[in-house]
Amino acid sequence: MALQGKAWKFGADVDTDAIIPARYLNTSDPAELAKHCMEDADPEFPNKMQPGDIIVADKNFGCGSSREHAPIAIKAAGVSCVIAKSYARIFYRNAFNIGLPIFECAEAAEAIEEGDEVAVDAARGIVKNLTKNETYQATPVPEFMQQIIDAGGLIDYVAKRLRPTDQA
């Protein structure tokens, strides 16, 4: 999937209650969760973003609860990827596990402004700011996690391990 779209900027310590408030957690249906994506950080976000758009945030994105509904809501809303200075660890892991591309890049998080057109080369971790004609290098993904991504996410990775013959 091409990771390209308009940047929406958020601040530091965006918590998972802001990404998907607990009042909506009486369902795990991705389409329902998507309707409330980022609602307590910016109530208008679900209406104004377009599929492919990119969330750009400061440090410690996704702190707080372990709810996987947070990356699920972002992915189901059509956000193509998240770029942040750093991530809370459970969110980081959850994003990989469910297949939401996320990139750690302080330089990009600083330089990109709201509304900039941004494209990401996921394989090489290169963030391109098409509006400003700049490029930034994201932190490489640990090799171990790359294997999970290559398998198509954690569940496919586990399924492959448990039933190797099925994959032949």
């Binding site: 310590d13 372990s66 709810r67 660890r89 596990n97 171990f144 996410g153």
Partner: protein, 421 residues
């Protein structure tokens, strides 16, 4: 060769290795996995996709509906039903139904399901609570839970450790909640990101097991992977008649390697208040006494244990809840509730004008049982004060210990316990 920390020793033991180093990626056997009524439905969906017949060990997959139970609405009821049906289908021995359940992180230690030296993962960020017993435990998402339900294993990155040394004698009314709030205030909500927080020193040794679990519980609020207290005789006294499995006391070596060592003198500390909207916004209670409040909540996986209720009752003695606010008291488990009744605490709360509820996470995460209206302000013994955490996005949550909560319920504003003595 350098020594190892308690966290590294537990991880090494579960990886089948002699030693591990910070940064190393390891595959570990887990002793127990946990899910609740919000996270388990997603985990069950993913588990079914793996295509295995059943769970790795039906005695070690624990399901606790606690967030939106007793069911708050039809959709929540459907989610809780998924847990019940999964538990029946896979004959899980540790599914806890309403009436027998509790707030998960109060319940599991009480039931002896977790013990010192264990490695536990749970699809709830406050799974780190069991570090209070000298276990390694950490929160994960639903997909990680699903994989561990099938495999009995997970992968982890060995964290660096920060050692906190708490020196001095704890002043009256200052407890585990204040120590953890104070250090989060010092290092920030990402001050221990990806790291282990090891709590040591004379003031920790003086804490009861409840206070230690309160501290480990909020390690996640500093971004940590786990919080841990070295097990000792206090730990042994708590676990010896509860533990359902053998346990191991691990201790850090004197020459273990720490990313940082932070020393704190607790002797001059006051009870701490975390102001909206981050747990790091802490101030001593004496600098917060002008804040009027609408609701006080005493409970949660942070401070819903028996000694928390005893402390609140002690402060409330001879007083009534202010006409201007609601006091909600939520015992963490049925056993705690029953004991609180036997000790007369429940009667005391009700006579003071409080509502006492069956165990639930309810208001802590803005689920039910005490949601805030626009502009309302709550003081809570819970763990998070994010925007909208307890209800309307324009409401506010302040965090504190149970004694401060009780005193504030009497005076209708944030108050120090000594103001009502």
């Amino acid at each position: 060769m350098m020594g190892m920390t308690i966290t590294e020793k537990i991880l090494a033991a579960h990886a089948g290795m002699d030693r591990v180093e910070p940064g190393q990626l390891i595959n570990v056997k887990v002793d127990l996995v946990l899910g609740n009524d919000i996270t388990a439905p997603v985990a069950i969906r993913e588990f079914d996709r793996i295509g295995v017949e059943t769970v790795w060990d039906r005695e070690r997959v624990v399901l606790v509906p606690d967030h939106f139970v007793p069911n708050k609405d039809i959709m929540s009821a459907e989610q809780a039903k998924q847990l019940r049906e999964f538990a029946r289908k896979h004959r899980l021995t540790n599914y806890f139904e309403v009436g027998r359940m509790g707030v998960e992180h109060c319940l599991l230690p009480e039931q002896g399901l977790v013990g010192p030296g264990d490695l536990v993962i749970g699809a709830d960020s406050h799974t780190c609570t069991y570090g209070g017993l000298g276990a390694f435990s950490t929160g994960v998402g639903s997909t990680d839970l699903a994989a561990a339900m099938a495999l009995g294993e997970t992968w982890l990155k060995v964290p660096e450790s920060i050692k906190f040394v708490f020196n001095g004698e704890l002043p009256r009314w200052v407890g585990g909640k204040d120590l953890i709030l104070y250090i989060i205030g010092q290092i920030g909500v990402d001050g221990a990101l990806y790291m282990a927080m090891e709590f040591t020193g004379p003031a920790i040794e003086a804490l009861n097991i409840d206070g230690r679990m309160t501290m480990a519980n909020m390690a996640i609020e500093a971004g940590a992977k786990n919080g841990i207290v070295p097990p000792d005789e206090v730990t042994r006294a708590y676990v010896e008649n509860r533990a359902k499995r053998p346990y191991t006391f691990y201790q850090s070596d004197p020459d273990a390697n720490y990313a940082r060592v932070i020393e704190i003198d607790v002797s001059k500390l006051e009870p701490q208040i975390a102001f909206p909207h981050l747990p790091e916004n802490t101030r001593p209670v004496s600098e917060a006494t002008d804040v009027a409040i609408d609701q006080v909540v005493i409970g949660s996986c942070t401070n819903g244990r028996l000694s928390d209720l005893q402390l609140a009752a002690e402060v409330l003695k001879g007083h009534r809840v202010s006409d201007n606010l609601r006091l909600l008291v939520i015992p963490g488990t049925q056993e705690i509730y029953l004991q609180a009744m036997k000790e007369g605490l429940v009667e005391q709360f009700i006579n003071a004008g409080a509502a006492v509820s069956t165990p639930t996470c309810g208001p802590c995460l803005g689920g039910h049982m005490g949601i805030l209206a626009r502009g309302e302000r709550a003081l809570a013994t819970t763990n998070r004060n994010f925007v909208g955490r307890m209800g309307h996005p324009e409401s506010e949550v302040y965090l504190c210990n149970p004694a401060v909560a009780a005193a504030s319920a009497v005076l209708g504003r944030i108050a120090a316990p000594w103001e009502v003595e």
